[in-house]
């Protein structure tokens, strides 16, 4: 099977700074891949290149929807990337704070629905039907991520862990085939992290969505990933299964300096 995401020798420069330097990454169908590395290694920059926020200086980014055609998406518009089927969450949650939980997810349905201005005026039967579909679909996703009790709560009033999950729900509403999660477990306590891990696993298994995530929680990364890419100073220094990465001396050195091992 072809890979969903293939990145070939991606380089992103900001002025003279090479934030990302000639890296290769790929994600296979139904796979959970992780992008790890110390702070400032260029992980989020890679995400921003994939989702069209940045236009990469060099290299190619290809995506291929399961059963679809391979497509180069360098410098694609942000919303087009989402329409293609790449959804993401943000490092600092970026919800719509003054909208309800349900509405936040409903926004995710925008690119999969059609109703226009005229439909809004007339409220004809097809618009109404679509509207109800949006609501039901969004509600189902909220049930799926376990936020069904807070549907009418304002997003800003949710506890932090729930906000993170809502962001995932919102991304899921766009019906992606590839989900990019930027530090989903940041700021979560161990119990919430376990729930999140279970949720990500379920998303992969039930929906056949591949996940590429940036994460610092090594226990989670090692436990859930099929493949791990390690970045340091913009360069890819290692790639492999969790076991391989755990043993890799270059990775240990990058993270901890000499003479340490990672316990996970």
């Amino acid at each position: 099977m072809t890979n969903l995401l293939e990145i070939h020798s991606l380089t992103m420069m900001f002025g003279g700074l090479k934030a990302v330097d000639d890296i290769d990454i790929y994600v296979a169908p139904k796979e959970i891949a992780a992008l790890i590395g110390p702070n400032g290694a260029g992980k989020t920059t890679v995400f921003n290149c994939i989702t069209g926020i940045y236009n990469p200086t060099e290299g190619d980014i290809f995506v291929c929807r399961p059963g679809g055609v391979k497509k180069r998406i360098n410098g694609i518009k942000i919303n087009k990337a989402t329409e293609l089927g790449i959804a993401r969450t943000f490092q600092n949650t970026r919800l719509f704070p003054n909208m309800t939980v349900l509405e936040n997810v409903m926004i995710g349905r925008h690119c999969r629905t059609r109703a226009g201005v005229l439909g809004a005026f007339l409220r004809d039967s097809s618009t109404l039907r679509e509207e109800q579909q949006i609501i039901d679909f969004s509600y189902d996703i909220l049930v799926h991520v376990g936020l069904a009790d807070q549907v009418n709560e304002l997003a800003k009033n949710l506890p932090y862990g729930d906000q993170r999950r809502l962001e995932i729900a919102r991304a899921m509403a766009t019906e992606p085939f590839l989900l990019l999660l930027d530090e989903p477990a940041a700021g979560m306590n161990p119990r919430e992290t376990d729930e999140l891990r279970e949720l990500i696993d379920r998303i992969r298994n039930d929906k056949a969505i591949s996940v590429l995530m940036i994460e610092h929680d090594m226990k989670m990364v090692m436990g859930i990933s099929d493949r791990i890419f390690v970045l340091d100073y913009g360069k890819k220094i290692a790639e492999g299964t969790p076991e391989e990465i755990r043993e890799n001396p270059v990775v240990i050195k990058a993270y901890l300096g000499e003479d340490f091992t990672i316990d996970a």
Partner: protein
Amino acid sequence: MNIFSELKKSLIVALWFVFLTFPIMVIRVNTIEKIIEWRWRNMLIIAIGSFLVSLLWRYLLTRKQTQTDSQLEKRPLSQLIFEEPKVYKPILVLIGLFVVIFPFIFSSYQINIMTTALMYVMLGLGLNIVVGLAGLLDLGYVAFYAVGAYTYALINHHFGLGFWTILPVGALLAAFFGILLGFPVLRLRGDYLAIVTLGFGEIIRLILENWNEFSFGPSGIAHISRPGFMGINLNLNESIIYLYYLMIFFCLITIFVINRLQNSRIGRAWIALREDEVACQAMGIDKTKTKLTAFALGATWAGMVGVIFAAKTTFVNPASFTFLESAMILSIVVLGGMGSIVGVFIAAMILILTPEYLRAFSNYRMLLFGAVMVLMMVFRPQGIVPNVRRFYRFRRVTSNPGNLYDKSS
């Protein structure tokens, strides 16, 4: 202890005010008899007055702070009213009755004022799309109003076409200008957007003022036809009443349309754009399209009101489209509550009608206006009637999460 420190602070404020106002309120130099009058009584009044006001101000501020902590969960009164059909239905009926019989109990002067107020309701609701929903601070909104007014004035002057023919033309042309403004400012946000829109408003006004061959310059265009009523010629009094009902009709349409818009897919996209632009795009919303729709639809209402304005006054000149008008419409939106239809309605009524009825204190009119704005922003920044997010109905049945995607398509 706390009260003591509050008293001390108020005392300092009072002393400061006494010091500041001393030269103008206490000393009076009589230049004819060459003597200096010392009006100590004024000083005492200012001291006591500012002391009490400062005390009240502090008390209100502390009360507001404790309120936000304890009453966060309490729902606003306005929302409770709208949720209870038994309460709001009679109110609506009463308002409706009042609106219908209004022209028969008041003089044509009053009707005229009310028509103007209704025009501002419509302008406020239109700007509400751009500022309240889409969060694009537009300080040049009056430009679209001018476009509508001049469309009718010029076409009527040159070709003699009537009100009902030009109304859609004015609306469309304003929408076109909205898109014209929208394109260059797509990348701008906040302060920068405000400055550019401000400039756009001024450009339109200056063009109208200086391009004499086109717009007849500052002298404006006179003798514009009033709206016709199925070919019947109305006298002045009748046409005032007719315009009033017309305005009521247009306001109802506006409220109807905007209410539907803001609870639609497009409306949600606007609100998402306001809340977080990057996240909004990352959710697959086309920023360009969404922003341009907001600008165009907002401008459409301004264009329509412009046509009505030209028909109502039968005279237009650039002096009616100054920045002050934009500021006024923006104040209506902010004061009423961003994104709230009822709020905008109430705010327009207050801001347009109060100055009219306060003509007796015309010297202090703007002072009062400013004071009200400051007080509102300090004590109720969310507006008179804050917009409440809508709750949706959905199937309560928890479906099997596994087959989610089958239902969509």
